[in-house]
């Protein structure tokens, strides 16, 4: 796949071990800025592990990896983490803080204005829950808060682990629209999913994982 936008992800034979077990058993991959990639594969294939590697949340055991300009072997993982946004399986906030307080914390941490927060919250459909402690949110509402958090951050590389799970129809529609926006804005998006993306207008590259390796690659 020829592409002249800069490389955002460059993995070469990346291996990730956990307690002697290879989560990733040698992944070679290049992703360009502004691309949309869907990672599929059976349960336990290594999708989440790949995303975690790209987020700098697990350490590289062998091979080489450069993500968002940071070498995962030698670079500063903090620099990398500031450039990626992560939406995981679990809700991912301080459970005792409210929706608003969590977002204020994130905004301050990233030195962003806090003025946008209300509109972001309304955007993801949580306006009625803005002062509810996060631990009381339903599964889908947590997901939505996760999206709000990313919207506020607007990272360079979006890593989304099964984003559709527990979102309702309207949420998925919103999510698809967001994805289009983000990619058009030049950010790179990697999504792990068991379902194909719903929107026909998004034409993602699809990677198929099995046994911790890429075994299929279709654009």
């Amino acid at each position: 796949m020829a592409n002249d936008s800069p490389l955002v992800v460059q993995l070469r034979d990346a291996v990730v071990l956990a307690g002697g077990f290879p989560l990733l058993s040698g992944v070679t991959l290049e992703l360009h800025a502004g691309s949309l990639t869907v990672v599929t594969g059976a349960n336990g294939a290594g999708k989440t592990s790949l995303l975690r590697l790209l987020a700098g949340l697990v350490a590289l055991s062998s091979g080489s990896a450069t993500v968002a300009g940071v070498d995962l072997g030698t670079g500063d993982p903090r620099l990398l983490r500031r450039r990626v946004g992560w939406l995981g399986h679990e809700g991912s906030f301080y459970d005792d803080l409210t929706v608003r307080e969590n977002l204020v914390f994130a905004a301050r941490a990233l030195e962003r204005p806090t003025g946008e927060i209300e509109s972001v919250v309304a955007h993801v459909g949580l306006a009625g829950r803005i002062d509810t402690p996060t631990k009381q949110l339903s599964a889908g509402q947590r997901r939505r808060l996760g999206l709000g958090w990313l919207l506020l951050r607007r990272p360079q590389l979006w890593l989304l682990d099964e984003p559709y799970a527990s979102l309702d129809d309207e949420g998925r529609g919103f999510f698809d629209a967001l994805l289009g926006d983000v990619v058009a804005g030049g950010a790179t998006v990697v999504v792990s999913a068991h379902d194909p993306l719903r929107s026909a207008s998004l034409r993602p590259r699809t990677l198929h994982l099995a046994g911790g390796r890429i075994v299929g690659d279709a654009s």
Binding site: A55, G88, G91, F93, A106, L110
Partner: protein, 219 residues
């Protein structure tokens, strides 16, 4: 760094404030522990005013262990770890912030316990006031050390039990120094040697934290 520190400290204190754990649980626990240690020693020893400083610090230590656990528990739900990691906060700032929040909580609890010591253990009020500066500094050192050890043992299954094992040896010298200078204050004197130990410990833990907290956070 300072900005991050204040942000993090504010967040931690807000979570504490929300749960009212300090007021309703930690402080009663401290008072109870004071009573119990008095009981364990028997009336003859406990009535002795010389036991005051030792018991005071023993209880402070127990309370500190509880609070360090809480301070880390807030960060260590799996989702929270990933999301907050991708904020890329300055680790030195995070360290200072968490230590500051912990110190604030320890100071408040320390005040109550000091009052308890004066009431129950016949510690001289005047002496307690003279000892106050050394107590404030000792508790700050405890908070700094505790934050470091807390991060060391965060996550993982047995973390909550691992903490005391690691932290107790580190706290021992602080405990002794604090107790000695408290006793000296009660005796009307002041022992600069103990001050040196406390101050050096505080400075050392702060320096180590600022330099190395980043290393602990990654993983």
């Amino acid at each position: 760094m300072i900005r991050t520190a204040l942000l993090v400290a504010g967040k931690d204190l807000r979570i504490e404030l929300r749960s009212r754990v300090l007021l309703w649980q930690v402080v009663p626990f401290g008072v109870m522990a004071l009573l119990l240690s008095g009981l364990a020693l028997g009336p003859a020893n406990a009535g002795h005013s010389s036991a005051g400083p030792g018991l005071f610090y023993l209880v402070v230590l127990l309370v500190a262990l509880l609070m360090i656990n809480r301070s880390q528990a807030v960060e260590s739900t799996p989702g929270t770890r990933s999301s907050v990691a991708t904020l890329g906060l300055d680790p030195a700032g995070v360290f200072l912030g968490k230590a500051l929040a912990l110190a604030t909580e320890l100071w408040l609890t320390g005040l109550v316990l000091l009052a308890g010591a004066v009431l129950f253990l016949h510690t001289a009020l005047h002496g307690a006031l003279v000892a106050l500066p050394s107590i404030v500094v000792t508790l700050a050192a405890l908070a700094a050390a505790g934050t470091l050890y807390g991060a060391l043992t965060a996550g993982g299954g047995g973390a909550a039990t691992l903490l005391p094992v690691l932290a107790l040896p580190a706290f021992a010298p602080l405990l002794i120094a604090g107790e000695r200078s408290f006793s000296a204050a009660l005796g009307g004197g002041a022992l600069w040697e103990w001050w040196v130990i406390i101050a050096v410990a505080l400075a050392a833990y702060l320096a180590i934290g600022i330099l190395l907290y980043g290393v602990l956070e990654e993983s």
